[in-house]
Amino acid sequence: MDYTYTLFIPLVPLFVFLILGLLGHKMPPIVAGLIGTLGLGLSAVLSYFTAMNYFWTSHVPETAYTSIKGFEVEWLHLTEKLTIHLGVLIDPISVMMLVVITTVSLMVHIYSIGYMKGDPGFYRFFSFLSLFSFSMLGLVLATNIFQMYIFWELVGVSSFLLIGFYYEKPSAVAASKKAFIVTRFADLGFLIGILMLSFNTGTFDFQTLTDPHGPAIAQAGGVAFMGMSVLTWSLIFIFVGGAGKSAMFPFHIWLPDAMEGPTPVSALIHAATMVVAGVYLVARLFPVFALGAPDALHVVAWIGGFSSIFAAVIACTQTDIKRVLAFSTMSQIGYMMLALGVSGYGGEEGLGFMASNFHLFTHAMFKALLFLGAGAVIHAVHSNEIGDMGNLRKYLPITHITFLIACLTIAGIPPFSGFFSKDEILAAAFRDNKLLFAIEYIVAGLTAFYMFRLYYGIFWGKKTHYHHTPHEAPKVMTIPLLILAFGSVFAGFLPFHNLVTSDGKSFESHIDWMIAIPSVLIGVLGIAIATVMYKSETAIPDKMAQSFKHLYKWASRKFYMDEVYLFVTRKIIFRYISMPIAWFDRHIVDGTMNGIAGITQYAAYSIKGLQSGKLQQYAFVFVSGTVILVLIFVYLV
């Protein structure tokens, strides 16, 4: 099967971006919106077609899925061995990502036609969305790690532009800056990792790198530094980049602030697609991790596990609904990372790999749904604060039902999709590491708790008096909600163990009821506690906050991570590095230069008397000189 046409999946949004970017201001807004949406619709259709084709139509049953280069062109020749190519790589995870990205992006495009209505930057919004879609699609289709890095950066800048979309708001500007710089810092790690990896393996190409018998994995042995091999170190550095984009601890601080962007953007970029790029990166290089550098994989597992519980605790205390969702995203991505970290390579060993991608898929659906639902709520009440909401179920029936479905899904209640994917992750963790497994159990309970705290806070609880009666969002916004709700409910029935596996071969996978039943129970427990505490107004939450005063305070301040970063940037970098350097430059370096000039000038002034032009003085010097010379000659020679 020829997959050259897949090139158009990213190229169509690129053209749309150029058209809207250059001519958008001359169009009526609705035309710009339609061009953007139709362009993405075309990409989505092509993606679905590719998925059908790859997974079913042209796949010979009982064989492994292979990776196919649909298209590749040389872009830049670096050294004798290293050349950057741009191309399209078709394999199970990239095809799955195509479906995820185009689906969510299309929903967000449609939704935004309603949500952004009347905004003066309407066309700009759609052109940025197209730029983002182009970059993200290019990222997942990358045939080599350098192409991925290129699109990685482009994704970063589209995120920057979209977070700062309301550029007249100082908080949005600050948030966009923070997101870009934090991820950029992590990208430096990614770059160093790429340099190390490519130098030692002589290639950027994913197919060569991940070949179990290829040069990368063959050279895995040897100790380079601190008891780990070069390969391990390069993968850890690469993972740093992934951790930055995926908001893993300690690079997560940009994600909550990124909620300053318009809500559809949060749904697309900061929930469903860009933030899982780190997961995708590890999954893309998974054979190298699993076969060549298990130590690096442990790092992935622990960072993921820690981030998931860290974020879940914080999420319980936040009052801004988008920030609750942001921390929830971080927590769920931690799950995905952990699943990759505990996975082995090949067959059933690769359960964690499959589970991670499965969860990525279902999470994209339900988290996008949650964000778009939150957007509909914000649209109705014009506030992000949970305190300004309550009892909205009567006013926003569709949003209410879809939001409830999403909450049940993320809480892992069967038969919704989250149950299946989370169960696989827990099963994979159970096999590998009991401690991580225990952590994930707790996180499952916390997740159910904070999601229902949010749900009750928005749709039940106290009767809030609204200035304007909140009204349900227009159809253009509710239809995407319904479609995503449909996806959240049924995505769990996809046979992922047949489609997306670590080595391309399918394996048997069953629900492990010994793990599933307790995990459902803990989810139900979390929901029950939330129901008691938040369904109607009670004093329990305050009492709880009182009795866990310190923990509550620390968690609500996000464990002071922002303050730590502020200290590092404001105090250390700005005040203790940059200011002294600037001072040093002006006063020492330049001072020396001026000093030299000054000395020259001083010397000139000092000897200028010798050229005074006064004849008497010349005569005097001349005579004295002659006398001295005569005396010297007479007496000394």
Partner: protein, 504 residues
């Protein structure tokens, strides 16, 4: 007639033409036409060069021309270009063209201004086409001298101080350079009657290693001063801050490239052994430039100072890569020169245009300009993104080639210093986003800025030309890198052969 002669003749004719004009309108028109021709000619040269190469001409230098003009010292007017100089000429053509349009409203002594500017440009063109070291030096001086007048007369702020400082520091560089060049001349041939200034012939001879050790630092630092080598860079912030827009553009855009180009073409190419021995010292200095310039830029509040320090950082990377002395890194150095030339010219053009409207360059006094001057705002963001190395723009290509090239050295010293230099990509992001955030975004701070006019047609020509060039290199870099790579082969061969025979 040799096409390369035109690069000197057209500016002369343009200068003659300007002498006949009466006012601003006429002189800028003549300049624009002359430099428009020059721009077209640059691209014709690129085309002819590529055609010649495709036809199978493998000579190191093409379009050579030679005329003896000072027999007793064997000084020639020798011309010739390879892929590297062709690329630099194209850069100069673009920047000069954009510079003319950026000075469209030069009210004060317009004729004299354009004449000085074009003499400067002709010096730069002459430098890049010369093969004779003495003639090269002559053109170099021709480019540096008008700078004094341009800043001293048409500048702003403490212009006399800045002009003096810049000229004196660059003259100190020239003095060192002259020592280096004369030294090279006297050892250019074992036969004292066959001494030559010709670059290609000297490269075939072998300068004694003892002499190289002595001459290399003179030549390298001499060029390095112009390339803003730490700690000899302080002329740059003051000079740029006081210089009028087009002069900043030309100076940072092309004149500073003379330093990088000369360091590579003369110092390293002719004295490879000493270069190998002493590279570590200069690598440390350049790595300091890269990081130090970027950190200094973080706390500056004057737009021109920010950009001047940013230039210190980016030009530091040029010299850094040159000193890595392998094919990939050197290729990166050339691309970085071109990329930085275009980006910084764009920045200075924009700064001039913004200053012309707001009458301040302090970012704290401005804010929210995106709302009132969207065209300039968007272009500023593009320039910023290009400067911080976003893929799709030239800066990314250059930086990546440099880092990959530098990483090909296996020893720890080169590795560590590469990582230090690479960390500048983060620091650059900090100062660029700080400027963009404070200057363009956020609420409008000052009511006076509510009714600023967006870019005029001539300003659009100036900026769009540069944006197109930056994006063209960023999206399709291979034609440029291939052209450079081809010409780097003989140079790298010389470097590596000598490294093996005489050092180890």
């Amino acid at each position: 007639m040799n096409i390369l002669n035109l690069f000197v003749i057209i500016p002369m004719l343009t200068v003659g033409g300007i002498l006949l004009t009466k006012d601003l309108k006429q002189s800028r028109l003549v300049s624009a036409i002359g430099m428009g021709f020059q721009l077209i000619l640059s691209f014709v040269l690129v085309y002819l060069y590529l055609k010649e190469r495709q036809a199978g001409n493998t000579a190191a230098m093409l379009f050579t021309y030679d005329a003896l003009w000072f027999p007793s010292l064997n000084i020639h007017y020798a011309l010739g270009v390879d892929g590297i100089s062709v690329a630099m000429i194209a850069l100069t053509g673009i920047v000069v063209f954009a510079g003319i349009f950026a000075s469209w409203k030069m009210e004060l002594l317009p004729r004299e201004f354009f004449i000085s500017l074009i003499i400067l440009a002709s010096g730069v063109f002459g430098f890049f086409i010369s093969l004779d070291l003495f003639t090269m030096f002559l053109f170099y001086e021709l480019a540096v001298i008008p700078m004094y007048l341009l800043i001293g007369i048409w500048g702003s702020g403490p212009k006399e101080y800045s002009a003096m400082k810049l000229t004196l520091m660059l003259m100190a560089g020239s003095a060192m350079l002259l020592v280096g060049l004369l030294g090279i001349y006297f050892f250019s041939s074992p036969d004292p009657h066959a001494l030559t200034f010709n670059l290609i012939e000297i490269s075939k001879a072998h300068i004694p290693i003892g002499m190289q050790r002595f001459l290399f630092p003179f030549t390298f630092i001499g060029f390095g001063i112009l390339g803003a080598l730490f700690p000899f860079h302080t002329w740059s912030p003051d000079g740029h801050a006081s210089a009028p827009t087009a002069v900043s553009m030309l100076h940072a855009g092309v004149l500073m490239k003379l330093g990088g180009y000369g360091a590579f073409r003369v110092a390293i190419f002719l004295m490879p052994e000493a270069a190998h021995e002493q590279a570590w010292i200069f690598l440390i200095l350049t790595a300091i430039s890269v990081v130090y310039g970027a950190f200094s830029a973080i706390v500056q509040t004057d737009l021109k100072y920010i950009n001047a320090y940013s230039s210190v950082s980016h030009c530091g990377l040029v010299l850094f890569a040159v000193l890595m002395m392998n094919q990939t890194a050197m290729n990166g150095a050339i691309v970085q020169m071109i990329s930085h030339g275009l980006m910084t010219a764009l920045f200075f053009a924009l700064i001039g245009m913004i200053y012309g409207r707001t009458h301040t360059r302090l970012i704290n006094e401005m804010g929210g300009l995106m709302k009132v001057i969207p065209f300039l705002g968007v272009v500023y963001v593009i320039a910023g993104l290009a400067s911080l190395g976003l893929p799709g723009f030239s800066g990314f290509v250059a930086e990546m080639i440099i880092f990959v090239g530098s990483f090909q050295h296996t020893d720890l010293f080169h590795r560590v210093i590469t990582i230090v230099a690479a960390s500048s990509i983060v620091i650059t992001a900090v100062y660029i986003l700080r400027v963009v955030g404070t200057l363009l975004l956020g609420p409008i701070k000052n009511d006076h800025f509510l009714h600023l006019e967006d870019a005029k047609w001539y300003e659009r020509i100036s900026t769009i030309t540069l944006v197109i060039a930056i994006t063209a290199i960023g999206t399709a870099p291979y034609w440029l890198t291939d052209m450079i790579n081809y010409s780097l082969v003989p140079i790298v061969q010389k470097l590596s052969s000598i490294q093996l025979t005489s050092l180890y």
